[in-house]
Assembly symmetry: C2
Homo-oligomer: 374 residues x 2
């Protein structure tokens, strides 16, 4: 079996490793007991992931002498609730785990966010291990320490920063994903090239088919995205500055998710981010910040991999430009009324732009709206 790629996330006392490669579920016990000898564990997962991967993980943990308690939740975004948080907390306490024992998240972003939050609050912070099973979770949730649940008043409004002790990103597991979900995760992966790694974006333009097929290129692409994110997070662990760069594509993307009522049949998060990234580049070109050629390059690549890249790629009707602007100004990342955007000076040259005039955004939305007279 090939050795995994290791990405070290440098956060001082909270530093940890991300292991990326095939067959890591089967090696989980070995890797865990090497780093946290004598530990006991609970595994939190959802019903779908449990059906596909839980037995493999249990067998892998057994090799390290670990027989975990298992907490299985319903699949889906609604699981990120107070009720399920309490369920996980109670399950971990029922297993009589101590502060030095481990809570393991086996699943996508929902399970990772919820489980990390529970691990962050039981006994004021237990050891946490992530085993992300979606591409989105492998590139996005593996680094950053953000955990949380949704409130009826908005998504991800409640949570803590809690860093894992170890992340196992098993690249083989991704072969069980629906292709549309893999593509959506790929949008977040490509984002890191667009933020500050132009060479990585160029490499993806040439090698994306191998990332989709699997093998060494897939592991390397995930590793590079994790390295890129780790660099940003190390500069700004608690999101007071630079970390906002990670929201490239997310302001437009969230607005489109809101405008489609978070209906996954029309638009999933990564697809919203794909369109959002294309719009952020096109908007930057309109403001004479970046070359239109760079915007065209981004659009062409997203199109090549099969991702939506313009508003007209979303099935069904969209609200008009004024309504879309309303979704943007409601966004929780709007600070004290000022419109903050992640804009760019070209591929790999994203920056935080504060006080972007709402009138410019509105004009741009009107120009690009599929159902509106120009």
């Amino acid at each position: 079996m090939s050795e995994p790629v290791i990405v070290e996330v440098g956060l001082g006392e909270r530093a940890y490793d991300i292991l990326i490669g095939p067959g890591l579920l089967a090696r989980a016990g070995t890797e865990l007991s090497r780093r946290l000898p004598g530990t006991r564990a609970a595994v939190v997962t959802d019903q779908n992931v449990a059906a596909a991967h839980l037995e493999t993980l249990k067998a892998g943990l057994e090799k390290g002498g670990i027989q975990p308690a298992i907490i299985t939740l319903p699949a889906g975004e609604k699981t990120k609730s107070f009720a399920h948080l309490e369920e996980v907390v109670d399950g971990v306490l029922a297993a009589k785990l101590e502060r030095g024992d481990v809570v393991i998240a086996l699943g996508g972003g929902v399970i990772g966010d919820l489980t990390g939050f529970a691990a962050g609050i039981v006994r004021r912070g237990m050891n946490f291990v992530q085993i992300p099973t979606s591409l989105l979770a492998q590139v996005d949730s593996s680094v950053g320490g953000k955990t949380g649940i949704n409130s009826p008043r908005g998504k991800n409004l409640v949570g803590v920063f809690h860093q894992p002790k170890l992340v196992l990103a098993d690249t083989e597991v991704l072969d069980t994903l629906p292709i549309r979900e893999f593509r959506a995760g790929y949008a977040e992966l490509a984002k890191y090239g667009l933020i500050d790694r132009p060479d990585f974006f160029a490499w993806l333009e040439g090698n994306w088919t191998k990332v989709f097929v699997g093998g060494a290129e897939r592991a390397e692409a995930i590793a590079e995205a994790c390295r890129a994110k780790a660099d940003v997070v190390a500069r700004d662990e608690f999101e007071t500055g630079d970390r906002a760069l990670l929201n490239l594509g997310h302001t437009f993307g969230h607005a489109l998710e809101g405008a489609t009522q978070y209906d996954g049949a029309r638009l999933v998060h990564g697809e919203g981010v794909a369109i959002g990234m294309a719009l952020a580049h096109r908007f930057s070109a309109r403001l004479n910040l970046a070359s239109p050629d760079d915007a065209a390059r981004v659009e062409a690549h997203l199109h090549a991999v099969g991702l939506p890249w313009r508003m007209s790629d979303i099935p069904g009707e969209l609200p008009d430009a004024e309504a879309l602007l309303g979704f943007i100004t409601q966004d929780k990342k709007v600070s004290r009324g000022a419109l903050t955007f992640i804009l760019t000076r070209g591929i790999g040259q994203a920056f935080i732009a504060k006080d972007v005039p709402a009138s410019e955004v509105l004009s741009f939305l009107k120009e690009n709206h599929p159902g509106q007279p120009k």
Copy 2:
């Protein structure tokens, strides 16, 4: 009006001030807007404290231009639950507060712990201000950043470390406390003398009546306890070592609270700590670690202020020594089966003793048990 005593809690980026003195509720708006200009706020309190102090605080906040949202909860330990945590989180979000706005706890330990936890998780951490209204909360909860709720499986099992931005300890408010509650808080105050400030303990022996009466000595005693705790916490913010010293008196104390089913009519927390501290000194003398004279001095001072100091001071029957030992070994501070105690070499010379033999504890409990033949 006299100027408050200011204790600076040095925690690097998380450093903050504790203001201690009379009339601080009325000055809350001035102090808050000086430190966090333009902030909006929510006040979390309980029905009893609201009746006594909320109008004074609201008038005080108004002077700083702050009109807070108010969240009022039932009084009592049962309020430290998931249900009330969710209620506070929702109330703060309903008030549309942003990450830089302030959540204020007005109340005793229950309100402080619950509110700090909510502030620590809404938007992954909002600004938090403590206005503790009991002596126990002023000396114990003002410093340390521990927040949390209870689980059906045990007290304080769920929470986060979240430091306040400011603590206002209004010493005048304490005059509304029942004397028994004031005395229970005094036990925690005296604890800091016993841990590592022998001069402070000697000062209390000579000046405790002035602390009970109020005035400058009361503020100074609270300030000295906060300084002492801040020194320990600065050495060990996340409780991996020295911070365990703060548990002086708590191992025996918790066992006695458990043995009396947390029945406040028989024993409140501070009283348990008082008896626990006396027992910790007497046990240390029995192990030839400290002089019996020091144990006698501790007992005499607790007796002088009207606190219970021996098991026979608890009304009603206690379980036998074996059962009491059972409560100790169940305690969450027992790490991987080893019995850890805070023992002492004399007044102000407490230390962490690991691997204390259970047999010694049992013999000691038998010797000191009021209902057991010696």
